[in-house]
């Protein structure tokens, strides 16, 4: 498995999120086509023109001569024709209401620059330097400006554009001024740009790089060259002129000569498979677009970017963050810049990830952000910087599942060929799932052993690596004790965790075993049309997905595909146990998953079942169908009932297979209305905890009473949580009216008792 630093490095260096699309990559001006198109498609011609003008310098000229190299690379070419960017460039020029450049009131700079050649490269460079208020002089040996444009278009177009772009700037133009030695100009000027055009004079100053077409730094300090002189075409020459202005400015500021960076081709590739075909808009007048035509053509652009992880990840969409930004925020969260640890911006983000791994599955660079966030969780926990509240409930749940009250291990003979690992939530959801499945397995393979405990996933999700390892070790020991049997899993999450952390264990799913060994699966009485909702972890076990479908089809179910299933299966919301850290997101996610399909869902993960049942979706676990258990509308058990179910399951198993008689445990009765019961469940307050708080309050008489209602109030600690209970005595137990919690701990209360006078200064 990858380490935290390895994934971090991949996000930084391999993630294609910020990679340019092909069109930008091959544009000499690096026009931000995605932004340009976004403005054009909503009719924002002024903004599009401004953006275009900033990129190209002379928009009227470039829109006429641009040969749109982008079109040969556009992925739309295969689905209706490349986006007609050249026509869109002309349209932004045609429909912008103000073509004049912006006027900036900047102080004049005291540096002088000489430009040799009044062709388009020289003038582009002059324009940008003049914009920045450098003192620019252009030397032109002929009588006119514009260079090779005279052979390409009517002079009124380019002369008008030059007039317009320079309307608020000044530069000195020296016509009939042939320069013989640029180095001599350095006596008067701070830097020189040679742009003498195709076949022009290079004064013997070009070095090897420039001879090979890489512009800017010449052999002589302070002298730069670019444009058609180095073999560029006119648009490339103009783009080089614009870039040269920055290179010259960098030289003036630092004294360092730079060449243009080698342009690297984009690594972004777009899969055109899912793109709907749409034909390019042809202008009605065959020449230029109307506004509507331009908007329609712009709408065809698919705005290429690598965002496939975001498309599949509701978390990234919810937080509006992509991998690189997530990496940055996680970094400052783990390594905050201040001593008191402020700025831990990603704490909740880290704790909101379901860690389902789909982002890594769909990523062309194989970057698993889920694993990155799981390992971030470890780092945060190691620094004691993760709020305990996010996972404490689930860690207590794990502890209970692995306690003597709920865990159970049984081997019918010294060695087993198979071991059933139902997982801790299956029996919590419905003990019959485990009892009937194990009975079935013993009927088919009588030496099958049983290991009923938690796989440790909640510890891994909470960042508690040590505890997770400890549990893995315990399971491995039991597995070895039984002669290293093949493990039969009901829960694909347990199975995936074993595959990752105890890879020695060979596994198979309960449903494959059932399909292979045969089981009668009754057909639906009133509903026999449904969708299979694959649990996210089943993505790694396609044969399980197939087995479930086969079992259902064998019993006559008609199955309708869901938006996300198979290798794109999404998490129901349970993964990562995020509901405490981010209840709002969890709710939204459940609603999203419930609306993936209109038909009732058949699931084969009890957590999926309970999540969907909890929000009113018609759902059955496949074991409900096979063994005729819960109905489509059976409610999910409360958290308190889940604990009780586990205790019950253990008791039944121990009695049935080991002949153990369960000790009678008498619990004080709690009475509450269904509303109070629901409220406690929503807040994940367990009845056992309520009971122990009341017992403790009564024992120590730490009670406050309401003089009106006579209700008693008391509190106690449940882990780190403070639990308040409002109650009164009833029959042989307690009537509970309310219970609520807070995460803040009440401090110093104990020192008040009997010693208040000593601490008056503190109070």
């Amino acid at each position: 498995m990858e380490t935290f630093d390895e994934i971090k490095d991949k996000i930084k260096n391999k993630c294609l999120e910020r990679e340019d699309p092909q069109c930008i990559s091959c544009c000499p001006f690096r026009l931000d086509v995605r932004d340009f198109i976004s403005n054009m498609r909503r009719g924002g011609f002024n903004l599009a023109y401004r953006q275009y003008s900033n990129a190209v310098g002379f928009p009227a000229i470039v829109s006429e001569i641009c040969d749109a190299p982008c079109k040969s690379k556009c992925p739309r070419a295969k689905t209706g024709g490349a986006v007609e960017l050249d026509l869109l460039e002309k349209a932004c020029f045609d429909y912008a209401s103000n073509l004049n450049p912006n006027r900036y009131n900047l102080p004049q700079k005291n540096k002088k620059i000489a430009i040799i050649g009044a062709g388009m490269s020289g003038l582009s460079c002059a324009l940008r330097l003049a914009n920045k208020k450098y003192s620019v002089t252009v030397f032109e040996k002929s009588a006119r400006i514009g260079g090779s444009l005279w052979n390409m278009m009517p002079s009124e177009i380019f002369l008008e554009d030059m007039r317009r772009q320079f309307m608020y700037e000044t530069y000195e133009l020296k016509l009939y001024s042939e320069v013989t030695d640029p180095t001599l100009l350095l006596k008067e000027y701070d830097a020189v740009y040679i742009a003498t055009g195709k076949g022009g004079n290079s004064f013997g100053l070009l070095d090897n790089a420039q001879i090979n077409g890489i512009p800017f730094a010449t052999k002589h300090k302070g002298v730069f060259a670019g444009g058609e002189l180095l073999g560029a075409n006119v648009t490339e020459a103009m783009a080089q002129g614009l870039t040269a202005s920055n290179t010259l400015e960098f030289y003036l500021k630092t004294g360092n000569m730079k060449s243009a960076p080698r342009t690297s081709h984009t690594k972004l590739t777009i899969d055109t498979a899912g793109i709907e075909r749409s034909a390019a808009v042809i202008p009605e007048n065959r020449k230029r677009y109307t506004k509507e035509e331009a908007q329609a053509e712009a709408a065809r652009c698919i705005l290429c970017r690598c965002d496939i992880c975001e498309k599949y990840c509701p978390l990234m969409r919810y937080f509006g963050l992509m991998p690189k930004r997530i990496e940055g925020e996680v970094h400052i969260t783990i390594h905050p810049g201040t001593l008191d640890g402020n700025g831990t911006v990603a704490t909740r983000l880290i704790s909101t990830c379901n860690q389902c791994g789909l982002c890594g599955e769909v990523c062309p660079q194989d970057i698993d952000m889920g694993m990155f966030l799981r390992l971030s969780h470890n780092a945060m926990r190691d620094k004691d910087a993760m709020p305990w509240a996010f996972h404490e409930f689930w860690l207590r749940d794990l502890a209970f599942a692995n306690s003597d009250s709920a865990a159970f291990f049984y081997k019918p003979s010294a060695k087993s060929k198979y071991m059933f690992f139902p997982g801790c939530q299956l029996g919590a959801s419905n003990p019959e799932y485990v009892l009937k499945s194990y009975e079935y397995l013993l009927g088919k393979m009588s030496d099958t052993s049983l290991c009923l405990m938690c796989c440790g996933a909640p510890a891994a999700w909470s960042g508690d690596y040590e505890q997770h390892q400890e549990i893995c070790g315990e399971i491995k020991k039991k597995w070895e004790e039984c002669g290293r049997p093949v493990m039969i899993f009901a829960c694909q999450t347990c199975r995936k965790f074993f595959a990752d952390y105890i890879p020695d264990i060979k596994s198979i799913s309960l449903y494959e075993v059932m399909l292979k060994n045969g089981i009668s699966c009754p057909s639906g009485e009133n509903i026999n049309e449904a969708s299979v909702f694959d649990p996210c972890s089943s993505r790694y076990f396609p044969e399980t997905q197939k087995a479930v479908r086969a079992l259902l089809k064998n019993s006559g179910y008609k199955l309708k595909q869901l938006k996300y299933e198979g290798d794109k299966a999404q998490c129901c919301s349970w993964g990562g146990q995020i509901s405490t850290a981010n209840p709002l997101y969890t709710k939204r996610l459940i609603d999203e998953r419930c609306s993936d399909g209109e038909l009732p869902y058949v699931v084969y993960c009890s957590n999926c079942r309970d999540v969907f049942a909890g929000s009113g979706k018609e759902v059955k676990h496949i074991l409900d169908i096979i063994f005729g258990l819960s109905d489509w509308n059976t409610k999910r058990p409360t958290f308190s009932a889940r604990l009780h179910n586990r205790e019950y399951l253990r008791t039944v198993l121990a009695e049935k297979y080991c002949g153990e008689k369960a000790a009678e445990v008498e619990k004080t009765a709690l009475y509450m209305t269904p509303e109070v019961e629901n409220k406690l469940d929503r807040a994940k307050i367990l009845e056992d905890d309520v009971r122990s708080v009341i017992d403790s309050c009564e024992e120590h008489q730490r009670i406050v009473a309401d003089s009106g209602t006579r209700h008693k109030f008391g509190y106690g600690m449940v882990g780190h949580m403070t639990l308040w209970v409002e109650y009164e005595a009833e029959k042989n137990g307690w009537r509970v009216f309310n219970a609520y919690t807070h995460r803040m701990k009440i401090e110093r209360e104990e020192v008040w008792n009997g010693r208040k006078q000593d601490l008056d200064d503190l109070q």
């Binding site: 640890g341 831990t344 996010f390 009106g708 308040w724 609520y740 995460r743 009440i746 503190l762």
Partner: protein, 65 residues
């Protein structure tokens, strides 16, 4: 607060609660505020509105700090 003062009685001491400072801590931060407490034994009372209102807000702020 006035209403709380007269209606909540400490069962152990039999006296009405009064506002007094109470110290809290959460995620390595500590702070204090005035809460209804028994003037004799110090037993505090935190009503649900406070726990699920202001306290919950502060808890979330500290978690996201």
């Amino acid at each position: 607060m006035e209403e709380n003062k007269t209606s909540m009685i400490c069962s152990k001491c039999g006296v009405p609660l009064e506002p007094a400072n109470l110290y809290f801590s959460y995620l390595k931060h500590s702070f204090h505020t005035e809460i209804m407490r028994c003037p004799k034994c110090g037993m505090p009372f935190i009503p649900e509105e406070l726990a699920e209102g202001r306290m919950s807000e502060v808890e979330k702020t500290l978690e996201d700090k």
